[in-house]
Amino acid sequence: MIPRWIYAPAALGAAFVLLPLVAIVARVDWTGFLGLITSQASQDALWLSLRTSAVSTVLCVLFGTPMAVVLARTSFPGQGVLRSLVLLPLVLPPVVGGIALLYTFGRRGLLGHELDVLGIQVAFSTTAVVMAQTFVALPFLVVSLEGALRTGGRRYEVVAASLGAGPTTVFRRVTLPLVLPGLLSGAVLAFARSLGEFGATITFAGSLQGVTRTLPLEIYQIRETDVDAAVALSLVLVVVAVLVIGLARQGRAG
């Protein structure tokens, strides 16, 4: 039972989210659409976006899963503060994240000298794009997975341990399978966030066609000179995002 009046603001909110999407579709120049999205610059940007987002999603899973487990299953002094700090990129303006990354891994950054000695130059490379995306997307995976771990509780893990399974076996055969839906939706969120990443990327990685200019950067760049192309590419990004969400929903239902 919900009060009838609640439909009014709900519909208003939904319209606020959906109407701009309709506006994009309405503004698309359909006659030149194919040409606009298959230009070399567009293809480079789309391909780069998909590649880097996929890699950063994998990195988020590899590092975010252990982080979520430590946050959900242990308690130590300062854990609350640590959690807040780790989740900081969620609320931090991405540009600030980019600057922070630049002064950590850039040539004159905290680790810049050490990396330089090793012959590694991170800033303004595709690696930097992946790092910027991972930086902003990691908290999404951690939050989603930590929630799933806490909701699931430890009961099954306790049973597994009493059956003689060591911590690694319990993690592999009980903990992970039980939170798989949470992990998947966390990974999808992380992928989507990576795909949309703009601020940290342009600050830390710059905008070099084929190297660091991802789709959002390309859209921003081209908007000044070719509005039709910008709108067409925006629609591509919307479609990709919708596909990702659809896939995630289907994965959960199955």
């Binding site: 009961r155 099954y156 306790v158 049973v159 597994a160 341990a161 009493s162 059956l163 003689g164 399974a165 060591g166 911590p167 076996t169 319990v170 055969r173 009980v174 399978p177 039980l178």
Partner: protein
């Protein structure tokens, strides 16, 4: 002694010790919050006691400077909820422990099938846990625990959540598979204790208040809790002039001497209920205020404080019994058994 356990857990008010011999089943009885589950958690290594020691087969599991992790204790746990891993089939659930110990897939499955057969659940092997009933689930959980080949089995109210109709069969199964095992069984059901356990300890407020062979404890309950769950009335006090706290009774073989602390025990069915004290009767009579009426078979159990009487529905109506009503309980001295404490 196979299991020796002593533990103090201040936060939960636990301060208890118990021992279980090799192949023995020990029932732990007690009201909610008595510390029974805490005791099991200490044994299983899920809880580090403030002080104490857990030794199994001479090996220190919990001791000053020693804390063996749960998975290395060879102590299996069966709780109220079967907690079958939902992502594994019944067979894979039971094969979990052998697999964890390094057995190959084929060998682990063979072991699992054997244990499923042992508990009468062989036909469930290919099902998903979501598709078995509560009683079946508990059988599978039992098979899974046994497949771990534990040195000690901890059962925490394994039948408390089950439909009454499946209990007798499951009890039979438990009785068979627990026979030669070292088991600690936490229960609130006297029947479980009677049928499954060799010995009983009774806990109240975090302490062991009674211990002994099952029949002894249930027939001669000395704590209020045991008397209540055993369905018996119990009055304690010094033994004077053939009576305990004014209740005349017959002393058992091991009679108390004058002034010695004793308990008088009698069945609710031996108690008659009157509106007013029956005159000139040789019976013990106590004026009481009725606190509770509950159906008990085809009779009504009348509770008055810690005493209980069974009367027919008709007499309950005739006597106009209701909570708050005044009445007199009477019991013949020949129906009262007295034990020293």
């Amino acid at each position: 002694m196979s299991l020796e356990l002593a533990a103090t857990v201040a936060a939960r008010g636990l301060d208890a010790a118990l021992e279980v011999a090799d192949g023995e089943t020990l029932a732990v009885l007690g009201p909610n919050g008595a510390g029974k589950s805490t005791l099991l958690a200490v044994a299983a290594g899920l809880l580090r006691p403030d002080a104490g020691r857990v030794t199994l087969d001479g090996r220190d599991l919990t001791a000053p400077g020693t804390f063996v992790p749960t998975h290395d204790r060879r102590i299996a746990l069966l709780a109220q909820d079967p907690l079958l891993f939902p992502h594994l089939s019944v067979l894979e659930n039971v094969a979990f422990a052998p697999r964890s110990r390094g057995a190959g897939r084929r060998e682990a499955r063979a072991t699992a099938r054997r244990w499923l057969g042992e508990v009468g659940a062989a036909d469930l092997a290919d099902r998903r846990p979501a598709r078995v009933s509560g009683g079946q689930g508990q059988r599978v959980a039992l098979a899974r625990a046994l497949a771990a080949d534990p040195r000690l089995l901890l059962l925490d109210e394994p039948m408390a959540a089950l439909d009454v109709s499946v209990l007798p069969a499951l009890r039979q199964t438990l009785r068979r598979v627990l026979a030669d095992r070292t088991v600690v069984l936490v229960t609130h059901d006297v029947l479980d204790a009677l049928l499954l356990a060799d010995r009983v300890v009774v806990m109240e407020n975090g302490r062991v208040v009674e211990a002994g062979p099952t029949t002894d404890v249930l027939e001669r309950p000395r704590s209020g809790f045991t008397a209540r769950i055993a369905g018996l009335n119990l009055v304690s006090g010094p033994w004077r002039d053939g009576a305990v706290a004014g209740v005349r009774g017959i002393a058992a073989d091991d009679a108390p001497v004058e002034g010695e602390p004793a308990v008088a025990v009698f069945r609710p069915s031996a108690v008659s209920v009157f509106r007013e004290a029956p005159g000139g009767s040789p019976r013990n009579s106590f004026p009481v205020t009725v606190t509770e009426l509950e159906p008990h078979g085809d009779q009504v159990r009348v509770r008055a404080g810690h005493l209980a009487a069974d009367v027919t529905v008709q007499s309950a109506a005739e006597l106009d019994l209701a909570p708050g009503a005044r009445a007199v309980f009477a019991v013949k001295a020949s129906e009262v058994a007295v034990y020293r404490t």
